[in-house]
Amino acid sequence: MDLILEGIVRAFRLLIQGDPAVIKITLLSLAISLSATAISLVIGITLGTVIGLNVFRGRRFLVSLINTGMGSPPVVVGLIVSVMLWRNGPLGIFHLMYTPYAIVIAQLIISLPIITGFTMASIQQIDPKLRLQLVALGASRGQLLWLLVRDTRLPLLAAVMAGFGSIISEVGAAMMVGGNITGQTRVLTTAIVMEVGKGDFGLAIALGIILMALVYLVNLALTLIQQRSKPR
């Protein structure tokens, strides 16, 4: 029991004192995951809206690709990104392996299908008659797209949250492509795994509390959004 108490006490001391290592790891983690989310967001909303509204050749294939992506284990994404970025791999010349950019790339690939899928689903949930009504009100093609995306803003926010939540707490890919280098690619999750391996529970618990707090905030936001966007 001493171990636990001691760990928790040390964790709170680290948190309250604003330990530089804790702050560094947290900020790096946020920077990487927020960048990945932002990039996915731009690509995913565009892709999801286009796929959701239009019927075209290859649409079924794209949709099943997105579904496969949403269900793929992050470890496999990490493996694929590793192979690509490895020093004598196809993108090896950019020397991205074991840099924060590698983690951003992996997390981007993990969150993109999630955000695209959510966007597609919320665009498709719009009553097709509402589209007719907007056309009947005199909306041009461009105005129609804009109105529809705007009308689903709450579910889209949910997509962003789900995307961010899935990558901030991811371990495997971050470890594989980042390499867990102190100060450079050590993020919250990989740091926790490492500290536990060393038997240093104080730092691990401190980082765990921060991770839980982040995930809790994201989930809270998701719940609030879902309640607000309930249909009449």
Binding site: V135, A136, L137, G138, R150
Partner: protein, 370 residues
Amino acid sequence: MRQETVSTSTLALEARDISVVRGGVKVLEIPSLQVLPNEVLVVIGPNGSGKTTLLLTLAGLLRPASGTLLYQGQPATTQAELLRLHRRMAVVFQEALLLNSTVWDNVTLGLRLRGVAKEEIKTRADKWLERFGIASLAGRQARTLSGGEAKRTSLARAFVLQPDILFLDEPFNGLDSHSRQAIIDDFEGVLRETRTTTVLVTHDSNEALALAHRVIVLMDGRIRQLGSREEVFSNPVDEQVAAFVGVENIIDGVVTSNQGGIINVSIGPSSPGSIIEAVADSAAGEKVSVCIRPEEITLTVSRASSSARNSFSGTITRLVSFGAFSRVEIDCGFPLVVLVTKRSAEEMGLEKGKQIFASFKATGVHVIKR
């Protein structure tokens, strides 16, 4: 006047040789249909008869398999032509179909899409929110509205556009009877003021009776009858149409008095002096139509003192028998259709040219504002 042939360019809308195919089946086939300026054209028909399909096609929202749509004499086929049509018209669907936004945003949406100036938007929106009694709701989120309020918002959103032509698809469905009647009354008033050209689709023949200048009866995707309200309700072309619309004698007149809920209606210049008594709350001077179901009228060979308040002498102009019934058409200065059993017709010796008395009770008369 409405029955005259009108030159194409003065038509509000014209459809030629329209057909709509779904799953390999022709669900709609309309050789020709003209919407006249300022008329209220009501399309009635049973569920699944293709009413909504017809409305969507006329509004340029559903591309037909074949045929052309002419708006004010100009074709409406290309994307640009359709956008032009859509920016002159308005559609009210069965559901209110509002965006997740305020009532004000929803009502002004069409004007903003058209790029109307801000002050103009404000003036017009204020007027129509007021007119439909929802001015106080302008700031409310659409998803918090009741069914009736949402419907009023959707009507205001249509009228604020001051459309050249208005399409409505079962607009009064799914409301409880109280707010339904209030909304129909408001709508009727607005329509009489603005004289907006209107195409309204409904399965409820009472709405057609209350609102229509002309009526189309649609069955199985084909026009079974098209004519004035009086023609369709008094002279349905066949048994099926009659069964659906419910046959009515419809006679226009003016209320001359109201004593304790019993009104006298003077029925038009065509037969001066004829008065129909009815139970209704209309005021003197009001223009009304009175409706009498053919089976509510009794024929007698001589005038008898009776509790039936309305009794008219007339001449039989036509007598048709079918099944157990005979349909008797009488000219009493105005036309009247009467349904009696065949046995009655035989026993009374009814025949063309015979003089007869037609009587019906004041409680059997249904009065509609015109």
